[in-house]
Amino acid sequence: MAVQMDPIHQFELKPIFTLGRIGNTEIVFTQASLYMLAAVALITLLTYLATRRNALVPGRIQSLVEMSYEFIASTVRSSAGEEGMRFFPFVFSLFMFILILNLFGMIPYAFTVTSHIIITFALAALVIGTVIVYGFMKHGTHFLRLFVPSDVPAWLLPLMVAIEIISFVSRPISLSVRLFANMLAGHIALKIFAGFVAILLSTGAWGILAPLPLALAVALTALEVLVAVLQAYVFATLTSIYLNDALHPGH
């Protein structure tokens, strides 16, 4: 078989230059770092261009940024309340960062940074760390009421507390794995269907069937763009739901 299927290859990190080393660990600037820098630069440029002239009737870029601002602001307000708006810059940055990185990944031959578990886990750990630190800062030990549901019979309480703690601990894992798995599986599926086209074309007469997987790959691309936006939105929504726990612990 001349055509080789290697859908994992696209997630390989390619070093660009070495920054230095700590002990035996090399600190390398990879293409992932480059994409993240590009995303931050793009977001900064967009918001700068949007707020440079605060026109009463917004132009294209200004209304784009204003729409995403309003979108996230209403999400935060509905799930964390007016108090949660102090975390709005945090949620908005997370949303824009993940959205731009996901959409970068949809460009052919581009690298998807969010398909690496360590990136998404770092973001999720940041969210949960903020929840824990802010919860203890604001409520002190009262924050632990989060694990003690009210209106529960005493004999059921130990079980409920255990369940609440497990559900809290699994949050950063589910938050990071959701984003990472969606991106990884989506891009692998795209690559596999593209591979089917190449395999069918290399078999001669069966090449007549090649448009079928090609059409599926196109449809999957559309779905992936939807998933890219949706997962960024889900990440932002869940972040504000978790932040709500830090603001208002206790059930």
């Binding site: 290697d6 859908p7 959701r178 939105y233 929504t237």
Partner: protein
């Protein structure tokens, strides 16, 4: 058992998990439609919740697909 065969069987078994996501998505959109047809004016406001539920449910199916793909290509 031959480890390569076990790998492929495991990948196939892992895909069964997607059946659950299929059932969940069917429930999700079916219930939304039946609610939306009863009260079409309230349906528009719940589209965000619907998409959130879709993403959360779909992610669980993706998890099992991910295990299958990792077994096929990464192990």
């Amino acid at each position: 058992m031959d480890p390569v065969a076990a790998k492929y069987i495991g990948a196939g078994l892992a895909c069964l998990g997607m059946a659950g996501a299929g059932i969940g998505l069917g429930h999700l959109f079916g219930q939304f439609l039946s609610g939306a047809l009863r009260n079409p004016s309230a349906a528009e406001g719940q589209r965000g919740t619907l998409l959130l539920g879709f993403a959360l449910t779909e992610a669980l199916g993706i998890f099992s697909l991910l295990i299958a793909l990792l077994l096929l290509f990464a192990v």
